[in-house]
Amino acid sequence: MIENVKINPYQFLVLVIFFTIGTGILIVPSVLAAEVKHDAWIAAIFGTGIGLLIIWLFTTIGQWFPHLTYIQINEKIFGKWIGKAVSVLFVSMAALYTSSLLYYSATFISTNMLPTTPMAALNILMMGIVVMAVRLGLETIARSAEIFIVFFFVLFLILGMCISSQIKFENLQPVFAEGTITLVQSSLYFVASSSVNAIVLLMIFPALMNKMKQARKSFFIGNLIGGIMIILLSFLSVSVLGAEDTAREIYPGYELAKRINIGDFVQRIEGLMGLLWFIALYFKTVLYFYATVLGIAQILHLKDYRPLTLPLGMIAVIVSLVIYPNVVYQKEIQQSTEVFFSLFVGLFLPLLLVIVYAFRKNTLKKSPEPESP
């Protein structure tokens, strides 16, 4: 009906990796270090583990209806009107995070590279390429992600290898100073931002895949690889910068790149390393925006989602200008309200869906399958 393309499991794997790393690579080490100090990397391990459980829930929901997107599953299980209400909540989450990520990318550029450029200009530039990608469709997004993942891994390897000579193991000691419960609690933000929000991938996961079984596997593997990269980055930040400095920085990973120094010759290559953050943030924004636009089109039963991209892009730019008045507010909100909202939409509603499905299983089986999207 709306999208006829199918992407293969490998392309989906790449998208999941980008989605998991996305904002995590920018801010997660600092959030973790602020709460559990030098045990930040252990908290990241716990976070990845919990994340995999949540992904298991999502893939199970996806497997029940291999031809429907999340919006259509909602409508089928909750009925027409309640289903639409749930879908509206889901779409508003995706739309809000599109703006939120636009804000992240704009503040990242304006604090580090272009301090006097107004934020509106940076937002419009970023949104322009996001809208372009969504208009071109999922296949284009997946194929470009396939190309960029190579750059991404090479840059990440360079960053890791160049900085590893400065690791000081004293910064990590004492290991496991915080209790297990504190570690699990503090990993909540990481779980919410990289695994619970992966519910937006349910817009593409069952419906637009060509090999269901392998796609499920790549959902898990992608989440795991993303988690491992964030664990590595937290480990490097804490061991090189120290726990206090990591907690104080807004972008600890970027600070790491600034400290690269090979024989007093290769120095200050953070501009190049900034590509890492751009690529990851860009693909995460694209996936959020794609879920928003496709979601609205499916709620309203439109034949094509493309006409909505430009007006919604305009709204996203405006919301991103007003969403956080300043960085302090952003830090405060992202660890309270955003986490609650993510857990509500990404964990509570799917669990409700599972419960309702268990009750309505028999009546649903009798009704004929609708045509694929």
Binding site: L96, L300, L308, I315, V322, Y324, I333
Partner: protein, 76 residues
């Protein structure tokens, strides 16, 4: 004033880009949704261009979640 004229020009460009193909295909519902979202976008950006501050959507969410936790507190 200049800013709002610029915004209207951009909106006109978007409409000029999208509307003809929608009219040609006779997608009435898409056209309706498109114009509603475009109107919202233009209205918000003109308010912003006149220097008024819009409330953050996060304020609403924070309010709702405080309400929810207050309601749930006696139950826990």
């Amino acid at each position: 004033m200049l800013k709002s004229i610029g915004i209207l020009l951009i909106a006109a460009a978007i409409a000029w880009f999208e509307v003809p193909s929608l009219l040609e295909k006779k997608h009435k519902k898409e056209l309706l949704a498109f114009s509603i979202f475009l109107t919202i976008g233009v209205a918000l950006s003109i308010v912003l261009a006149f220097g008024k501050t819009l409330p953050s959507p996060m304020e609403l969410l924070t309010f709702l979640f405080t309400l929810l936790t207050d309601l749930m507190a006696p139950l826990l």
